[in-house]
């Protein structure tokens, strides 16, 4: 198992392939295995792919605090320094996308491009009203046989409240797919760290700041996702963001890795050609 020290923390990581660097950032409660047998093989044919376990996750150290997107963006920058990666494409799934975006906001010169898959951002919480999400009733129905009761009032409810409930549900991806959740790591994260509180912090990644991130960005969202309004907002406000909406689930990068790998490789190729600006921003006029 390979470890690298950054920001005073030991991170478990793997690298595959040769070429331009791309770093894949997993979501909260996940780990690098999320990417490994799924999108890494396709990407590693053309790029050097780095995957790592966030602090508190997988086989990385588990410090008691420092789990805001800003803290984790510093970890990512530190990891790049320690591995000698000057610049990289950053790909984040879910909360991992918030980390990648925060890193690009602080260190744009280190980021070749961004891919945000199913990402919600603490600053944009008000822009994804759960009450207006068509999937709400279906989610409540799906959860109830497992004893997970969602609030009667979606307005006062936050999707992050699902995190501690995950052990009650069958595993969605990976080795234990369809089996009861293994909740050792989740319990450790919940009881010995501030992660689940920290991840809601806006910090300096405010709406205004998000709108200034001018790296070529591909936002990929599921058409039934509660996060879709975020993708829409990012396309409308970030200078170089394009939104791709596709059918799938929140976990599509692992469930249907081709659905991520294909647009990813096209996006990287376009960035290299310098032709990524979304058409409705290019002319400076909105339809």
């Amino acid at each position: 198992m390979r470890k690298v020290t950054a920001n005073g923390i030991n991170f478990h990581y793997q690298q595959h392939g040769v070429g331009t660097d791309v770093i894949l950032v997993h979501g909260v409660t996940s780990n690098l295995s999320y990417w490994l047998l799924t999108v890494v093989p396709d990407l590693a044919e053309r790029l050097r792919v780095t995957v790592y376990d966030l602090r508190g996750h997988g086989f990385s150290d588990v410090p008691p605090s420092g789990y805001t997107t800003g803290d984790l963006a510093e970890d990512l920058r530190g990891l790049m320094d320690s591995l000698g990666i000057e610049q990289a494409h950053l790909v984040g799934h879910s909360f991992g996308g918030a980390i990648a975006l925060h890193c690009a906001a602080r260190y744009p010169e280190r980021v070749l491009s961004l891919v945000l898959a199913e990402t919600a951002l603490p600053a944009l919480r008000e822009r994804m009203p759960i009450a207006r999400w068509p999937g709400w009733d279906k989610l409540r129905e799906r959860m109830s046989p497992y004893g997970v009761k969602l609030s009667d009032d979606p307005d006062s409810w936050d999707l992050n409240e699902l995190l501690p409930e995950l052990p009650k549900l069958p595993t969605v991806v990976g080795l234990r797919r369809g089996l009861p959740h293994q909740d050792r790591r989740l319990q450790r994260l919940a009881t010995s760290t501030t992660c689940f509180v920290d991840l809601r912090a806006v910090g300096d990644l405010t709406e205004e700041r998000i709108r200034t991130v001018a790296r070529p960005t591909l936002a990929i969202y599921d058409d039934g996702s509660p996060f879709l309004p975020i993708g829409q907002y990012l396309e409308d406000t970030m200078p170089e963001c394009r939104l791709l909406v596709q059918e799938g689930t929140h976990y599509f990068p692992a469930v249907a890795p081709q659905e991520l790998a294909r647009p990813l490789l096209a996006h990287f190729a376009a960035v290299e050609r310098g032709s990524t600006v979304a058409p409705h921003h290019a002319g400076g006029q909105d339809p």
Partner: protein, 108 residues
């Protein structure tokens, strides 16, 4: 040629190290169910594959082993898959065969 017993001892030691952060019920042994008894997660399977590759000097096709073991026609009950698992012994058998197959192939 490496024996099944030698690989078994190695794999059990690796699993004990990988799982050392957690309390596992009972000892890890040949008959332990990898998912049910040891409760292995994907990230721990990744760690085990890495340790095995380092110990024996090459990567083994674990994805093939896992899909053969785990992608049988699925029986679902109350949202959970039934009967999806394998023992430490079955895994060790696969590793031993792979390692020795390679040795035989090289010899002639």
């Amino acid at each position: 040629v490496i024996t099944y017993e030698a690989v078994l001892a190695d794999v059990i030691r690796m699993l004990e190290t990988i799982m050392s952060d957690w309390d596992i019920e009972g000892e890890i042994r040949e008959t332990s169910l990898v998912l049910g008894d040891i409760g292995l997660e994907s990230i721990e399977a990744v760690a085990l594959a890495t340790e095995i590759a380092e110990r024996y000097g090459r990567e083994l096709p674990f994805a093939e082993f896992l899909s053969a073991r785990l992608e049988q026609p699925e029986q679902e009950e109350a949202g959970y898959l039934q009967g999806k698992d394998f023992t430490v012994g079955e895994l060790v058998d696969f590793v031993t065969r792979e390692l020795n197959g390679q040795v035989r192939g090289m010899a002639g």
